[in-house]
Amino acid sequence: MNETTEQHSAPHADSLAIYIVIFVLLMALLVATIAIARFDLGSLNVVAALLIAVAKALLVILFFMHVRHNPRITWAFVAAGFFWLGILVTLTLTDYVSRNRPIPDSLSQISPRNAPAAGSNLPSQGH
C-alpha cells in the first residue's frame, strides 16, 4: 500500500513558465474584451464578450485547475455542470422566444371554415 502512495504522490507540477504564460494570456483577453466593448458592433458585442469569457474560463479550467491532467471523470463533471446549465437556459428560452407567434392555419384542425355549425353534431338541444 505504501508503494502506491509514493508512486502517486510524485508531484506532477507544471512548470512556472506555463502559469505565467496563461496568466499573460488571461490579462490580454481581459484587455481585449474591455477594448471591444468600447466599440459598437451591434450584436457582435455580445458574441465577442461571451466568446472571450469562454476562452478565459477554458484557460482557467484546463491549466489553473489542472483539468488537462485529470481523469475523464473530471472532464465529465465539468461538462455536466455547463451542459445542465445549457438545458436550463435554452429550454426556458424556447418558451420565451416563441411566445405570441401566430398559429398557421395548416397546423390547425378546427379552423373557422370547418368549425361545426351550430348544434349540428348534437344529440339534442336540451340539457
Binding site: 500500500m1 504522490s9 474591455i34 461571451l50 489553473f64
Partner: protein
C-alpha cells in the same frame, strides 16, 4: 481500489496510515475522492449561479432596453478609464495565478512560497471585496439599491431613463420597473458571488494556519488543491458575471 485483490485483511487489524481517514484504503483513494467531491460540488455551484443567470438571460431577452441602461450605470463607476468591474476581473485573475502557484508550491514542498502565495491570494481577495464595496457604496448613493423603498435613482439616471423611454417608445413607468429588476439581479448575482469570496477567504485562512504549522507535504496537500479549485471556480463565476453585467449592451 489499488490494493491487491486477494488480501483478506481483518479490518480491526488494518494497519491504518494516520494520514488516511478510516473509510479509505490509502492516500491516493482519499485524494481522488476529495477532488471528485469538490468537482461534483462545483457542478452544483454552476447550477446554483445558473438559476440566476437563467433569470438574467430571460429578462435581458424581455427587457433589453432596461438591461442596457442598467449596465451603462454599472460600468460607469471607473478608475483611470476602466470600470471597477474590469479592475476586479484583473484582481481575481491574478489571485487565480497565485492560487495555482500555491498549489504548485505545495506539490513541490516549497513551504515559504506556499505561505506567501496564500497570503497574496487573501490580499487580492480582500482587495476584490474592497473594490466591490466601494462600488456598492457608489450605487447606494446613486439610489439604485432595490427593496424596502430604497430604490430612488439619481436625477441623471432618471433623465437617461426618460430619454431611453422616449427613444424606444417604452412606457417610462414600465421601463423604470424593469430597470429596478436589473438591479435586483445585479445585487443578487454579485452579492452571492461576494458571499462565495468571503467563504473562500475563510477557507484560505484555514489553509494558511495549516501551512504555517507545516501540515502540507508533497505527499499530502489535498486541501490546498481542493480549496484551490473552489477559489478558481469563484473566479470563473466572475469571468462570466463581468461581461454579463458590465459589458454587454
Amino acid at each position: 481500489m489499488s490494493h491487491s485483490a486477494d488480501a483478506p485483511l481483518a479490518v480491526a487489524e488494518h494497519p491504518h496510515d494516520p494520514l488516511v481517514a478510516e473509510q479509505f484504503e490509502d492516500l491516493d483513494q482519499q485524494h481522488q475522492a476529495g477532488t471528485l467531491g469538490m468537482w461534483t460540488f462545483l457542478a452544483t455551484e454552476v447550477l446554483f449561479f445558473g438559476g440566476m443567470i437563467c433569470g438574467y438571460v430571460i429578462y435581458r431577452h424581455l427587457y433589453f432596453e432596461a438591461w442596457h441602461q442598467g449596465s451603462v450605470v454599472v460600468d460607469s463607476f471607473a478608475f483611470l478609464g476602466i470600470s471597477a468591474g474590469g479592475w476586479n476581473t484583473a484582481v481575481l485573475l491574478t489571485s487565480s495565478l497565485t492560487v495555482a502557484l500555491a498549489v504548485r508550491a505545495a506539490q513541490l514542498g516549497q513551504h515559504r512560497v506556499l505561505v506567501w502565495m496564500l497570503i497574496l491570494t487573501m490580499i487580492l481577495g480582500v482587495g476584490f471585496l474592497a473594490i466591490k464595496a466601494s462600488e456598492y457604496t457608489h450605487e447606494y448613493h446613486e439610489g439604485v439599491v432595490p427593496g424596502w423603498g430604497f430604490f430612488n435613482p439619481d436625477e441623471h439616471i432618471r433623465h437617461d431613463l426618460e430619454h431611453a423611454a422616449d427613444q424606444s417608445g417604452i412606457n417610462p413607468d414600465l421601463l423604470h420597473r424593469q430597470f429596478q429588476l436589473f438591479w435586483c439581479f445585479y445585487f443578487f448575482m454579485t452579492g452571492t458571488h461576494a458571499l462565495h469570496m468571503i467563504i473562500g477567504l475563510g477557507l484560505f485562512t484555514y489553509l494558511l494556519v495549516q501551512a504555517l504549522r507545516h501540515r502540507f507535504t508533497p505527499v499530502k496537500h489535498a486541501p490546498v488543491e481542493i480549496i484551490g479549485l473552489y477559489w478558481h471556480f469563484v473566479d470563473l463565476v466572475w469571468i462570466f458575471l463581468f461581461p454579463l453585467l458590465y459589458l454587454i449592451r
